[in-house]
């Protein structure tokens, strides 16, 4: 009796399980730095993704099915993104992947998604090589050639800085790329890079006095620090203790509430470029700020709306593709045009990058002041 019964159950299960699954949720994977030296990037972009998924599901889901997020923490560490994404694809069978902010980690996981033909949408990796890894890799943010130009232009035209020093993170593709694009524009338009020094990021270097002393000797008008907030905060603090009073400039890697917490008031009056300012008066932004603040009891930084936009654009693409099939979703993502996102109007170009404007913010205590918005 038992012998007969068991195969029957197995057969029944085999028949009903796949159909049950497909009628249920659309699983979307996400890998993010929820802990570690860039934890606020992961936490805040994930908040954005969660908020978007909640809204999508409250509005009835996509293709009549709920979106189910599976989030993996990569601990801000090299080596973790690839295992996280392999797990998401092979064991969780996700239909698409969202992640990362840090370019080095997107570059690590991208080729795995490409290989598996699973579309990947990066909320905030700005290094141009990220999407060059394959035609299944997209992003909803601008790229560093643009961001570097914005800051170089800002240094030249607004700050009237003729001599700039660069202090970059040698372990980060983002930092190396951004300093390269900054230098290209800055030199071409009459600026001089008086000195370049580097450090190891990811929480390993904490003492930057050696580099800053050398920078001090070169008498720059400003210092470009294209790194992440953990280091930028300490660099600001140590620069001031060495008597360096010139403004520091940074990119979107500075965009974290932790920056001011680490730096104290040492970075006040310094500037960085990023994706979004909560001070933007547009209805879309104000609506997002209201919803976000209500849910998470804190104002969004630049990474939160990027996570939100990444999830929204992915849902939109699945809706238009009419299926969760990787190839079709990919094609739908590639043809996104004039999508009204929180971080601006998104059009995906032929290199799978989003074309949109950047904002320049001034650090002022815990708040950041809006300075300028620069269109591409």
């Amino acid at each position: 009796m038992f012998k007969l019964f068991l195969p029957a159950v197995v057969a029944l299960g085999a028949l009903t399980l796949p159909s049950l699954l497909s009628a249920q949720d659309i699983t979307v994977g996400e890998y993010a730095s929820l802990t570690g030296s860039e934890a606020t990037f992961g936490i805040n972009s994930d908040n954005g993704v969660q908020l978007a998924a909640e809204e999508i599901n409250n509005a009835g889901g996509v293709l009549g099915r709920k979106v189910k997020l599976i989030v993996e923490d990569d601990q801000s560490k090299a080596g973790q993104p690839s295992s996280a994404v392999k797990k998401l694809i092979s064991s969780d069978k996700v239909v698409a992947v969202i992640g990362e902010i840090a370019s080095s980690r997107s570059l690590e996981a991208g080729p795995i998604c490409q290989e598996a033909k699973i579309p990947m949408v990066s909320p905030g990796s700005t290094n141009p090589t990220v999407t060059e890894k394959g035609d299944y890799i997209f992003r909803v943010c601008f790229i560093d050639p643009f961001q570097g130009t914005v800051m170089a232009k800002f240094a030249l035209d607004t700050l009237k800085a003729k001599k700039v020093a660069i202090l970059s993170d040698v372990t980060s593709d983002y930092s190396k790329g951004l300093s390269q694009y900054f230098t290209e524009y800055y030199k071409k338009h009459g600026g001089e890079i008086v000195i370049e020094r580097s450090y190891s990021g990811g929480g390993s270097d904490k003492d930057f006095r050696a580099q800053l002393t050398a920078i001090r000797a070169a008498h720059p008008d400003a210092i470009f620090v294209p790194g992440y907030y953990t280091e930028a905060g300490l660099i600001g603090k140590q620069a001031r203790t060495l008597g360096l009073k010139v403004p520091l400039l940074g990119g979107d890697g500075w965009d974290s509430p932790k920056l001011a917490e680490i730096a104290g008031n040492s970075l006040d009056g310094c500037y960085f470029s990023t994706h979004f300012s909560p001070a933007d008066k547009s209805a879309k932004v104000q609506d997002f700020v209201k919803k976000y603040t209500a849910k998470f009891k804190t104002a969004p930084d630049g990474m939160a709306p990027l996570g939100y936009d990444a999830m929204m654009i992915l849902a939109e693409a699945i809706k238009r593709a009419g299926t969760t099939d990787g190839d079709k979703v990919r094609d739908a993502l590639a043809s996104v045009k004039n999508y009204e996102a929180v971080t601006g109007n998104i059009t995906i170009d032929e290199k799978r990058n989003a074309q949109k404007s950047a904002v320049v913010l001034e650090v002022a205590g815990k708040e950041n002041k809006f300075v300028a918005s620069v269109a591409p």
Partner: protein
């Protein structure tokens, strides 16, 4: 070269020297633990760098608990109390690690103990991530860290405190090792363990004491490091631990003054390379210098070459 150029160069050189000495003190303090344990047990305690991390977290936990009771002019006592309690916590940790992980393996091959040490190190690192979370935390300021300017050279109060406390600890250590019975026993054990036990030295006590002493110094280094660079994380001990190990080897492993000097050398070299245009290769160059020195003096700067009988 004009006079202004020269004086500017001298200022920058002195500034880098100040930076380098401050950076070297942490390596020196940690290196002492490596070298003392090697002296008595002939093995490298790879968990030592993580004891340094525990010291920093002990301070992180003790500061908000103790400092409110030491307001105003009492603050220096509060800082000392935080320092001593963190050192005590680390000393206890060092003794417990030795007792639980290394003592049962004392008669086993050295490789077994070495691998156990790596295991203990990983346990502390990932246990720390589990207990404290892996994101960096700002270390609470123990005092207002102002800057002093002397002829264009900027010196932080924390740099003075770091160097001063380290110097005091080194004097205390040298007193303990040279003038106390336990110090004598340590040196005897380091010289010849069998002979020492034959004349009545209690090996277990002396080894426990050595671990406690070394770990207390690592704990002090953890606090001083966090005062100087106020951002702490559970994996913060790996890099300084590795460099301090190198410092100990550079000074001649087993040699106490050698470890202190080795630490200072590593700190200063690292700072000058970091300020040069080779800053991207800072660690590589620091380690290359080590290799060159060891080629010419295989026993380290202060070590004596000993031929092992086989």
């Amino acid at each position: 070269m004009t006079g202004i150029d020269l004086s500017q160069k001298l200022t920058d050189f002195t500034q880098q020297l100040v930076n380098g000495v401050a950076a070297g003190t942490f390596y020196a303090l940690i290196a002492l633990g490596y070298t003392m344990v090697y002296g008595v047990l002939r093995f490298i305690n790879f968990a030592h760098g993580d004891v340094f991390m525990v010291g920093a977290f002990a301070g992180y936990w003790l500061t908000p608990l103790l400092m409110p009771h030491f307001a105003g002019h009492l603050a220096p006592f509060g800082i000392c109390l935080v320092l001593f309690l963190s050192m005590a916590i680390c000393a206890l940790l060092g003794i417990v690690i030795e007792k639980l992980a290394y003592r049962p393996l004392r008669t086993q091959p050295k490789l077994t103990v070495l691998i156990t040490a790596i295991g203990v190190s990983l346990l502390l690192e990932y246990g720390g991530q589990f207990a404290f979370g892996s994101d960096p935390k700002p270390f609470p300021p123990l005092f207002e860290d102002s800057t002093l300017e002397v002829h264009g050279i900027f010196i932080q109060y924390s740099q003075i405190i770091v160097v001063g406390v380290t110097a005091a600890l080194l004097v205390a250590l040298s007193f303990i090792v040279k003038r106390t019975r336990l110090g004598l026993a340590m040196r005897a054990l380091s010289n010849n363990a069998t002979a020492a036990s034959l004349v009545g030295v209690n090996l277990d006590t002396v080894i426990s004491f050595t671990f406690g002493l070394g770990s207390a110094l690592a704990g002090a280094a953890g606090i001083l490091y966090s005062i100087y660079n106020p951002s702490i994380a559970p994996l913060m001990g790996i890099q300084p631990g590795l460099k301090a190990f190198v410092a100990a080897v550079l000074g001649g492993i087993g040699n106490i003054p050698g470890a202190a000097v080795g630490g200072l050398i590593i700190g200063i070299v690292e700072t000058f390379v970091g300020g040069s245009s080779f800053s991207s290769y800072r660690d590589a160059i620091a380690f290359a210098i080590l290799i060159v020195i060891l080629l010419f003096r295989p026993a380290g700067l202060f070590g004596r070459a000993v031929t092992e009988k086989v």
